[in-house]
């Protein structure tokens, strides 16, 4: 009993560590890391996917910029974006203009949508002394077309980073980084499986925070942290509740507030799979880490083993099929389509995915949010009745 109490306390303390990083909009961890060695560089990246292995291998710290959520008032950000644009670019520019990211040496904007592309342009104008790169991930998955395009994009990135610290990247270094991130992916997958098998042991909010810490800490520390969380979560003695199991889909870029994730669980749903912070789970397998050409290994991983997402165009659009497979793999009872307001990729895909779910007789319902949403009552009503419907009448 006393041992169990201690485990619960240790688990709670470990989660609080991730929560503190989440709350810190000054990115103090990156600042302290950089101050330890004047040659160190910090590179911020936006959702969804960036091959962090390259930044790591260059001796730099990749830091995820996922917006300020509900923890910052927008004063300047609204001047840059129209009212029909999603919320995340407003808090990102607000943080940058407020000096929260002054210690960052560069920013990478992956090709999610036009809004993020425009945000990269705004950064270029406002911060001419920083390294700013729109990182154009291929939408064509043919090796000779998308593969070659991606190789040039990666080479351009390596050159750009080299200009920051003069480091000449070696094959050995990139292979070593790939191996460290392979281990990180394995641990994240293990945690995802643990959550799906025992969702009462690690809540959706806790899972979210643990992953989010990976966008702040060094990957080495995150690996240790994941090991600790896995050990503690397995040992926590919690009783399962009678809830439905849901897959949350559509929250891959602008992140839902923690209150919303908690609301979904409190309304009677265990989140057993989701696409929040999708970049952390983007590559689904290990990437070979012993080749003579690790850049090709990264390219092939992207082309062949990427997670599906609305930010990626797929000609024959098998996303409905892939979502169905997630539902089956995670033994989910239904899907919650949870997308940010004005998120074109997520909202344009939603009807296709809904139709697919209908065709497979998978229950679903959808709603929208923005990262600083503070009222969850309506969503609680909807998620609650959805859960009741499945529990009582299915």
């Amino acid at each position: 009993m006393a041992e169990q109490h201690m485990t619960t306390e240790q688990y709670t303390a470990a989660i609080e560590k991730a929560r503190a990083l989440f709350e810190d909009l000054s990115y103090s961890y990156a600042k302290e890391w950089k101050e330890q060695d004047p040659s160190r560089r910090v590179i911020g990246y936006l959702p969804i996917y960036i091959p962090r292995e390259i930044i790591h291998a260059m001796g730099m710290l990749p830091v995820g910029i996922f917006g300020a959520g509900d923890r910052m008032s927008i004063v300047k950000g609204d001047a840059f974006f129209q009212s029909y644009i999603c919320h995340i670019p407003r808090t990102v520019i607000e943080m940058a203009l407020n000096g929260n990211m002054d210690h960052f040496d560069g920013f990478l904007f992956p090709s999610i949508c036009d809004v993020i592309r425009n945000l990269s342009g705004i950064f270029r104008l406002k911060f001419p002394d920083k390294f700013i790169r729109y990182f154009d991930l291929p939408q064509n998955f043919d090796r000779k077309v998308g593969g070659e395009f991606y190789r040039k994009e990666i080479e351009r990135l390596i050159e750009g980073l080299k200009a920051l610290n003069g480091h000449e990247l070696t094959t050995e270094e990139l292979n070593a980084s790939i191996e460290i991130y392979n281990y990180n992916r394995r641990l994240v997958n293990e945690l995802s499986d643990l959550r799906s098998d025992f969702p009462h042991k690690i809540s959706a909010v806790d899972f979210y925070l643990v992953l989010r810490a990976g966008g702040t800490m060094t990957v080495e520390e995150h690996n240790q942290y994941l090991e600790e969380i896995l050990r503690l979560a397995r040992e926590v003695d919690a009783d399962p509740e009678d809830k439905i199991r849901v897959v949350v889909s559509g929250a891959f870029c602008e992140q839902p507030p923690l209150g919303l994730i908690k609301t979904i669980e409190n309304a009677g749903c265990y989140v057993v799979e989701d696409d929040m912070q999708l970049g952390m789970k983007w590559i689904k397998t290990d990437i070979p880490s012993d080749t003579d050409d690790p850049v090709s290994a990264l390219i092939e991983a992207y082309l062949d083993h990427s997670e599906f997402s609305s930010a990626v165009y797929e000609a024959d659009n098998p996303k409905g099929e892939q979502l169905k497979q997630q539902v089956i793999d995670r033994r989910a009872d239904g899907v919650l389509f949870c997308a940010p307001s004005f998120c074109d990729p997520a909202l344009l895909d939603r009807p296709i995915l809904e139709q697919a779910m209908d065709a497979y007789h998978i229950r679903h319902f959808g709603f929208q949010y923005h990262e600083n949403l503070g009222q969850f009552h309506v969503i609680k009503e909807q998620a609650g009745t959805f859960a009741d419907m499945i529990k009582l009448w299915e």
């Binding site: 009678d242 809830k243 409190n266 009677g268 009222q375 009503e381 609650g384 009745t385 009741d388 419907m389």
Partner: protein
């Protein structure tokens, strides 16, 4: 011994119902409701739970299901949670199988729920964030008027010339009441005016749905006979031709519904596992 406990955590009251499944029947063996006042709701819940366990010589492990409804996250030990609409529908249906519509008149929100066969929710509508149709608003007003909630119904029935308040906004309505008091308008007429305003909001809610009769009222405000009379009076004026009356045990309908759905769910899961 097959006991199921329902816990309805409201913003003002904690309500509980203990149900025993005997010989294929469900029997309500205990009902509790307690005002939270300024206490920690979780502690109130645990204290009430313990009192019920002591009265029936039970412990938590003996229960087949503990179900929360309302602000269920405040219940530390439970097996499942059901949403308020589902539980109020079930609670009202238990006493009134003829129910086609249920209106939960709560402390913060009111909800209209139409039913299909077997207390299944067909559709629903609820009041927005405005408080002027809520029990909390009525409670605030009684404080201004210096009367108790128990007196409200009787006073309202004594009104001869009701003075209506704003049906839109609680802040404006409270200002109206202060002005009425200053003008010397009799308390029964003020209260009846408030009841008619709330009734107007409830009927608007009903008009959003394809409502069928009879309409059963649940929630704490359904015990206010002045409000029930005002709703009946207003719907009659609007020729809505609805039969509207309060449920038996309206205050604990949600807790009863939660306990009943909990029991249902327990047997359903047991059947699946078999």
């Amino acid at each position: 011994m097959n006991y199921s406990l329902g816990i309805d955590v409201g913003s003002s009251y904690i309500k509980m119902a203990l149900i025993d499944y005997r010989d294929g029947d469900s029997v309500i063996v205990d009902i509790v409701n307690e005002k939270i006042r300024k206490r920690n709701p979780t502690q109130v819940i645990e204290q009430l739970e313990q009192e019920i366990f002591d009265r029936h010589n039970l412990k938590y492990e003996d229960l087949i299901y503990v179900a929360s409804t309302g602000e269920g996250e405040l219940v530390r030990r439970k097996r499942g949670h059901f949403y308020s609409m589902t539980t109020h529908a079930r609670g009202a249906y238990h006493f009134h199988p003829e129910a086609r519509t249920v209106v939960d008149l709560g402390a913060l929100f009111s909800r209209a729920i139409t039913l299909e066969q077997g207390a299944r929710v067909r559709s629903y509508a609820m009041t927005g964030q405005c408080a002027s149709g809520s029990g909390q608003f009525l409670e605030n007003i009684t404080r201004y008027l210096g009367v108790t909630l128990d007196e409200v119904g009787t006073l309202s029935m004594q009104s001869t010339d009701p003075s209506r308040t704003s049906g839109i906004c609680a802040v404006l309505a409270e200002t109206d009441v202060i002005n009425m008091v200053a003008q010397g308008i009799p308390t029964p007429d003020i209260i009846k005016g408030i009841h008619l305003s709330i009734a107007g909001r409830i009927l608007k809610l009903l008009s959003k749905l394809r409502v069928e009769s009879p309409v059963i009222l649940t929630g704490g405000m359904a015990m206010d006979k002045g409000l029930v009379a005002a709703i009946q009076e207003e719907q009659s004026k609007k020729n809505m031709a609805l039969e509207i009356y309060p449920s038996e045990h309206p205050m604990t309908a949600g807790a009863i519904g939660a306990a009943l759905w909990g029991g249902f769910r327990h047997f359903k899961l047991a059947e699946k596992a078999a």
